[in-house]
Amino acid sequence: MTPQTARRANLAGGAITILTVVCAVIWAFPLYWGIVSSLKPEDEVVRPYIELWPDTLTFEHYVHALTATQIGRWYLNSIVTAVGTTVLTILTSIFCGYALSQLRFPLRRPLYWLILASFMVPTQVLIINHFVLVANMGLLNTWAGIILPQLIHPVIIIIYKQFFDQVPKEFREAAVMDNASEWRILFKVFVPMNWGVTTALSIVVFIWSWNAFLWPFLAATKTEWMTITVGITQVNDAFGIYYARELSLAVLAGLPVALAYLLFQRQVTRAITLSAGIKG
């Protein structure tokens, strides 16, 4: 390359970089707009022109959300059901993934294929039967009822199987020589060696569950059993619509997952690419 073309390429590169940054800012603008609007008084929100920063900064909508709605209760429901779903999914998947990866037993292959095949089945079509099942068990409007149908994440089992497959054979053989039980091998060797995967997968399953809408929406017929994702769409004020109030609820509902992502960006990225079948 001659110096001249190199300089031109540099200039073009710089322009593309600036364009990318501008696009990224525009892309995220609706999020900013939602947050800013939630910090304006209701009369300022409906002004017929665009104000990028509030004239009067106010937290009154947040105070209202925290004191006058059931948001505290919804937070609790979300935390309990998301943590419950995460712990149960991860534990059962570790067990099953370990058996598939390390143990020899009849029907191992068919089980593996069955789990792979279930990737295809859309759980959304099962809502009617989930509802009937959970209603018959008397679990509508309970945490258990919200958790139960969310426990099917076959992909997590497959990911664990793949990671356990990669643990060198010598580790297991040495442990078996020492007469260690399978449980000991699993919890002292295989699980500690894969803490990274477990952290990443736990964060994503938590986010998936926090964000789940359809099932929690059906399973909670009373407001006090709604998760926050469902609850914030069910607030109807008696007189008119309060836009800023609604947006403050949105901010409060999105905050935990947004923070989880910003704090654990690398793990979230890794778990998401893993769940799509790409080894990261």
Binding site: I16, V25, L88, L111, P122, L126, N129, V132, L133, A250
Partner: protein
């Protein structure tokens, strides 16, 4: 190494049991139950009589079912194709950057994906609000007539598809970035030595090597968007739900609002088969593409 086959079988059984129990209860049993229910005239909760294929034959002259099928197809077209290309563009742009700038820009593009659907709904319902939405101010400035987007039968599906692309694109960007990172740097160095320009490098090197990831992205979105419900339901509130029906929404409406468990199950079975057929076709296609490479 000596293995005690019987002991191993027993341990395997204990390890698999918790998963198998849950899987049987909330997956296998409901699936079978769905098929059985679809041959009855049962309400949502309670028993019904066997009616044979009646629930299925009724679908052929069911206007709401027609709407649901076409809207779902239209939604899939409008979300999957733009979603794939927009994500590819973003991934190419982000992969050029490095260090903190890359992390920050990626975070801006990715953030919507991490948020719950109801937050997306509230934000866009506000942004596109007919009276006060910021988008309408922009429409005014550009001289475009204001549109009550979510109350218009024409604009509803395109608008929700566009919002869905904005919401979920971050996921596809991550996959593309992983794909781009997997392309060996030497190939680009060789292309640079040959004085290949930006476009030539992209069309001759990046695009062909990225093809498997593009196919994967396409497949995942296709199957995901056929099962669309949340956004369509939320944005339809106070609008025209019967014009905006998609498949899962129709199942929900039949079962939970009209109390027709049996008829809803028939729709569910139809969707079940559509998704399975598309998944299998996709899987075969990807295998074929991989073998060709």
């Amino acid at each position: 190494m000596i293995r005690d086959a019987k002991k191993e079988w027993l341990i395997a059984l204990t390890l698999i049991a918790p998963f198998a129990a849950i899987y049987g209860l909330v997956f296998v049993y409901p699936t079978i139950d769905m098929f059985l229910l679809s041959f009855t005239d049962a309400p949502l909760i309670g028993a019904g009589d066997y009616v044979g294929l009646e629930n299925y034959t009724r679908l052929t002259s069911d206007r709401r079912f027609d709407t649901a099928v076409w809207n779902t197809a239209w939604f899939v077209v409008l979300s999957v194709i733009p979603g794939t290309f927009v994500a590819l563009g973003i991934a190419l742009a982000v992969s050029r950057l490095s260090g903190r700038l890359q992390t920050a820009v990626l975070a801006l593009f990715f953030l919507p994906y991490i948020l719950p659907v109801s937050v997306i709904y509230l934000i866009w319902d506000w942004t596109l609000n007919f009276q006060f939405g910021i988008a309408m101010h922009i429409f005014d400035a550009l001289g475009i007539d204001r549109i009550p987007v979510f109350k218009s039968a024409t604009w509803f599906i395109p608008a929700v598809a566009l919002i869905t692309v904005w919401w979920t694109c971050g996921f596809n960007v991550l996959l593309f970035l992983a794909g781009l990172r997997a392309i060996p740097q030497e190939i680009y160095e060789a292309a640079a030595l040959d004085n290949a320009g930006r476009w030539k490098t992209f069309s001759r090197v990046t695009w062909p090597l990225l093809w498997p990831i593009t196919a994967l992205n396409f497949t995942i979105q296709l199957i995901l968007q056929m099962k669309i419900f949340d956004q369509v339901y939320l944005f339809s509130q106070g609008g025209r739900p019967n014009d905006n029906l998609v498949m899962v929404y129709y199942i929900f409406q039949r079962a939970f609002q009209n109390n027709h468990g049996g008829r809803a199950a028939a729709v569910a079975v139809v969707l079940f088969f559509i998704v399975i057929v598309v998944s299998v076709l996709n899987f075969q296609l990807m295998r074929f593409a991989e073998r060709k490479q």
